[in-house]
């Protein structure tokens, strides 16, 4: 671990007991999962549908008054945020597979997002959630663009990485769409020697273009043309809604993984991990932020990133209740639990991006 090493790793007996306590939290929660959770996700989907339809209609009414246009943009942004965060992200983690509903199924769900959902499922569900914050394994750490710890060498371009970060935030959905394609070096760079891709490189490329193309067609061709005299306002409204959504999702995700005290890991540390060690790494690699119920819902409960990393397939709206118990268990075993207000956490993200944009003061001595 390279940052905040004042907490040494607890011994394995402690971590085993710790794991048991966490398993207990998981199973008592899962016993409660049922009708209430089904109603909850269906209601969120209803709100998403109504705001999407309402938003698209309001955009067209923009010819009556610009207020309508603004309302349209906000409703459409809301719809996209709900679709991506509370619905898409969580459904694609398999949180609602037990409902046996083909439209709310982890494997089949497709979201209102430029990234092909199959590709996302591969690198997010597998890579990021299994190898969380292991440098070289979890490419979500810095996305290959940002230097966020001393584990990566400083390069002159890192000086401007706060701008890179802002750009990434604005174009976040494209970054997410491009992530696996970049990792596999489909368009440029040297091919990876080992690839675990279950599809061919060509299929990956086609999926990338077809999904991004579909999204482009929908928001920038189909709906603007459908509302023809309002072509430009509708196009602009869709564009703005996509950007606002991007800014929000990237902010949530940065607050969940790149706050000041987040730890990173080396592959050697994580070989043959026990369940307790795995839980421990997940906790040290994620951070929460606190806020109102709406903030939780709009962040897809990634405000409880710690709980999400511990229990990725538990219905997310159960996380806030679990968070209290998890925090208590962490306190019991003296394991750091990273949480704070939304504003605080975001400030430390910016701090981290700035901090590592400068070269290290002294060359870290290899242990």
């Amino acid at each position: 671990m390279s940052t905040a090493t004042n907490n040494a790793r607890p011994d394995s007996a402690t971590l085993d007991a710790f794991a048991q306590d966490l398993d207990q939290i998981r199973s008592t929660t899962m016993e409660k999962v049922g009708q209430e959770d089904a109603n909850y996700i269906r209601n969120v989907i209803r709100v998403q549908r109504i705001s999407e339809i309402g938003g698209r209609v309001a955009l067209v009414l923009g010819f009556l008054s610009p207020i309508w246009w603004v309302v349209g943009v906000l409703l459409l942004t809301l719809a996209k945020i709900l679709d991506n965060m509370e619905i898409g992200h969580n459904v694609m983690h398999g949180q609602y597979d037990w409902m046996n509903d083909p439209n709310i199924n982890g494997k089949r769900f497709e979201w209102d997002h430029a990234a092909d959902s199959d590709s996302w499922r591969r690198y997010h569900n597998h890579e990021h959630h299994t190898y969380t914050n292991i440098i070289g394994k979890d490419r979500d750490f810095g996305y290959g663009l940002l230097r966020l710890s001393d584990d990566t060498r400083w390069r002159p371009k890192n000086r401007w990485q706060i701008l890179t970060y802002l750009n990434l935030s604005i174009l976040f959905e494209l970054g997410v769409a491009y992530h696996e394609v970049a990792g596999e070096r489909i368009f440029m760079g040297k091919r990876r020697k080992t690839s675990n891709l279950p599809i061919t490189r060509k299929e990956l490329r086609n999926a990338f273009f077809s999904k991004a193309g579909r999204q482009f067609f929908k928001d920038y061709v189909f709906f603007p043309l459908l509302c023809f005299p309002m072509f430009l306002p509708v196009l602009a409204g869709n564009f703005l809604a996509n950007i606002l959504r991007n800014l929000w999702t990237s902010t949530v995700i940065f607050c969940g993984h790149f706050t000041e005290d987040i730890h990173t890991f080396k592959m050697e540390e994580c070989e043959n991990e026990t369940q307790g060690e795995w839980y421990y790494r997940q906790i040290l690699g994620s951070s929460n932020f606190e806020g109102s119920r709406w903030l939780h819902i709009l962040s897809g409960h990634l405000s409880c990133q710690v709980e999400h990393h511990l229990f990725p397939d538990v219905p997310a709206h159960r996380y806030p209740a679990m968070a209290k118990e998890v925090e208590a268990v962490c306190r019991k075993y003296n394991i750091p639990y990273n949480t704070g207000s939304f504003g605080q956490q975001y400030l430390t993200v910016v701090k981290r991006v700035l901090k590592y944009s400068l070269p290290p003061k002294q060359v870290p001595i290899e242990a």
């Binding site: 089904a38 398999g94 499922r121 279950p198 929908k218 189909f222």
Partner: protein, 373 residues
């Protein structure tokens, strides 16, 4: 003609394409489904939302659901089955059931009946009657299945075991209700554990009066044992010249087919239908279980002393399912279980017996499992 079909096809394809592109859902109905459900609970775009009119007790462990199918439902042929889907604690559960009433009855009353046996450890069959008592809503699929009486009726031998009587009741009721006289010989050998277990006894007897060629034998397995060569010869001597229909628990079907083929009945004369999943017991010392990989047509038997995950079993059988983390986190290895029970070693829970998605890398087979793989 062919042009208009192509045009319909084209419109259909274009419409689906548009739905996919504009809503990211498989169809417009799927997109609107949650909204429609606000007004019609349990409405499903791909099913027929139907009302349960009555739940009728048939015996200690059997009951019939009387259902009024949705108007768009297209009807059925005697002997066919439907998939029944209901919501239980937020989850959709589906089971296949033969329709036990006749098409003629449906035409007249608009109703169908499903006769269901309560499985002791089942999660669904004991629960359904309470859930639907006060007139509930269920979803049904279109009827399907090849287990039907052929139009031009030939001499027939029917062999029913337990609740396997249901499709035969439908067939016989259909013949009895049809105006024209049916005089072809039909023998029904109906096996049950004890005399209280014979369903529709009076109705079947009435059919004997209405259908001159029909002979029904109620065979109590406690008294005379299970189906055998001796039974064939004593109850239906000329069985070789008949079409044979078998329905009941799977071991019975396997056994009956073996006996019949041993007696020289040709394979194409034998029609059969498995009746529902078998009751499962979750005992500690369970028998070795079989895993059938449906698409690749491979079957493996698990070793009781050496517990292996379904993923390991599949890979040993040279099937390569998509995987990721192999520790139950990423959901890449999700696969549809068609039937059977698995134990999830991560959540420490047993699955239901019906169709559902499971994680191969952390699931262990408990009773015979059929996987889509």
């Amino acid at each position: 003609m062919s042009i208009s079909i192509n045009r319909a096809d084209f419109i259909h394809t274009a419409w689906r394409w548009l739905a996919r592109n504009v809503t990211n859902n498989s169809s417009f109905s799927a997109y609107f489904e949650p909204l429609v459900q606000m007004f019609y609970t349990q409405w499903r775009a791909d099913r027929f939302r139907s009302n349960v009119i009555d739940v009728r007790r048939e015996s200690a462990d059997m009951y019939s659901l009387v259902i009024k199918p949705n108007k768009r439902w297209q009807g059925f042929e005697a002997g066919q089955y439907i998939e029944l889907t209901v919501e239980k604690e937020g989850a959709w559960v589906s089971r296949f059931f033969s329709i036990s009433s006749s098409p003629a009855y449906f035409e007249q009353s608009g109703l169908i009946e499903l006769s269901i046996r309560i499985q002791e450890n089942g999660q669904i069959t004991p629960w359904l009657p309470q859930a639907l008592k006060a007139g509930g809503v269920v979803n049904i699929s279109q009827a399907a299945g090849e287990f039907c009486l052929e139009r031009a009726l030939t001499p027939t031998l029917m062999i029913a075991g337990g609740s396997g009587i249901t499709p035969f009741r439908s067939m016989l009721q259909q013949l009895a209700r049809r105006r024209e006289v049916v005089s072809q010989p039909i023998s029904l050998l109906y096996y049950a554990r004890s005399s209280e277990h014979f369903l529709f006894r009076n109705e079947l007897k009435t059919f004997q009066q209405q259908l001159p060629g029909l002979v029904v034998h109620f065979i109590d397995t406690r008294d005379v044992g299970f189906f055998s060569e001796a039974h064939l010869l004593s109850y239906c001597e000329d069985f070789r010249s008949r079409d044979v229909y078998i329905c009941g628990p799977s071991p019975m079907i396997v056994h009956a087919r073996k006996v019949l083929q041993g007696q020289g009945v040709k394979q194409e004369q034998i029609h059969y239908e498995f009746f529902g999943p078998e009751p499962v017991s979750l005992d500690e010392d369970r028998e070795a279980s079989n895993v059938l990989f449906q698409q690749s047509g491979k079957q493996v038997t698990t070793d009781k002393d050496q517990v292996k995950t379904l993923l390991a079993l599949a890979e040993e059988a040279q099937i390569k399912p998509v995987t990721g983390c192999r520790i139950g986190v990423c959901h890449q290895c999700i696969c549809q279980k068609k039937s059977g029970v698995v134990y999830n070693s991560k959540t420490k829970t047993y699955s239901d017996t019906g169709q559902e998605d499971i994680q191969l890398c952390v699931s262990v087979p408990v009773a015979d499992v059929v996987l889509e793989l």
